[in-house]
Subunit: 212 residues, 2 copies
DNA sequence: CCGGGGTTTTCTGCATTCATTTTTCGGATC
DNA sequence: GATCCGAAAAATGAATGCAGAAAACCCCGG
């Protein structure tokens, strides 16, 4: 966690604060408070905020401070829609490009996922699994874009209640994903990932529509 | 162009310097020089560099300054590969979601493209056309990711010689793209955009392989 | 003529400080 | 009692200053 540069540490730290829900949606981000929190001066902190703004996690209002970028239902729907395009890409290429290490790691994560009890660890392992799969597609820009979208989804997770039945269905979908990956079936894997994404989107948006 | 905040002005300004080729690939970016160039102090300039780093245009080496992010042939190939995924998405959705304003603007840009004489204006109008098409897909994350990838491509443009025959072929492809758009044919538009992207990628990479 | 070591110089990273804008709070007025 | 206005307080935007690291330079030895 503690990177060599303050900048990296701050970017990761603030992102984590938002992901963990300590900084809630639309909340103001007072520079002074975070400075004392991380024991740094405002200069590096402000640099980190600019970077996170470029990443889409925070919104900078000139002369009026930074807020956690609000994410409403239409915005989240767009995130899932965009993610589908990347999921298809990842499925298509990860099926052929994943090496032995990737496969081993994914099998391990898949086992962890099946063993996950509470929704929190399930989400965490799930994110790790999909990130690893994205890495297996061997395309740096896609991997980076995918990670950014995943962050948005993970952020929204705090605003919803997880349905245990959805967890079961998700796990079943993951079984199919692993099966397609094991036999290296690109089209099948792409299709399964796209549908998995769509199903997750439905589950999220059903909960999310009520609020925001 | 000149935004109200110093930050935006600097980000746009430095990005422009890189796109125009004034800051060449892999070149060090001395903070002091840019400070005098833009008549600002180092603080906002450094913030801008962090933002551009998060955007992928510059690389920050701790304690060793910033450099224009080097882009080699494999990297550029990945950019085009990633762009194909987004092109398909854009074609699929722009075909159904483009409104009258979009269509009018795209017809206008298409006419400008056909009228373009030199490679410079062609590239410029071409980028504007594709950005407008991306906007017509009505998906903010995709639009932003697409813009970032376009920047990488535009940056590589300085390193290659444009083949006039490629310009002709490109224009012909654009005719097909407009035709698919006019009749709102999603699958056809997606396929044409993907092939257009692939053809452009081949033209770029053929030139690019020799160097870098 | 080339390479190595130590010093000087430059440059980056961060803290501090100053100016300007926004927000807040108090009081007067209706 | 609510509202509007103004001053105080706080927060942001930007410049400057300072410590430490990297790079450049110079001098010396081989």
């Amino acid at each position: 966690m503690t990177a060599h540069t303050l900048h990296d540490r701050l970017v990761a730290g603030i992102r984590e604060l938002i992901l963990r829900g300590e900084l809630t949606d639309g909340a103001r981000i007072p520079e002074a408070a975070l400075c004392t929190r991380f024991t740094v001066s405002r200069t590096p902190l402000r640099e980190a905020l600019k970077a996170l703004a470029s990443e889409g996690l925070v919104t900078l209002r000139p002369n009026r401070g930074a807020v956690v970028a609000p994410l409403d239902a239409p915005g989240l729907a767009q995130v899932f829609e965009a993610k589908e395009a990347l999921e298809r890409f990842i499925g298509l290429h990860a099926a052929t490009r994943a090496d032995a290490d990737d496969l081993a790691a994914l099998e391990g994560l898949h086992a962890d996922l099946a063993a996950a009890r509470d929704a929190g660890t399930y989400s965490e392992v799930n994110a790790a699994f999909h990130d690893r799969l994205a890495a297996a597609a061997r395309n740096a820009p896609v991997q980076q874009m995918y990670a950014a979208l995943q962050v948005q989804v993970r952020r929204a997770r705090h605003a919803i209640n997880h349905d245990p039945r959805r967890m079961q269905a998700s796990l079943a979908e993951h079984e199919g994903i692993m099966a397609a990956l094991r036999i290296r079936a690109p089209l099948d894997l792409a299709e399964r990932l796209a549908r998995h994404n769509a199903a997750t989107a439905r589950a999220f948006l059903a909960q999310f529509d009520g609020r925001a």
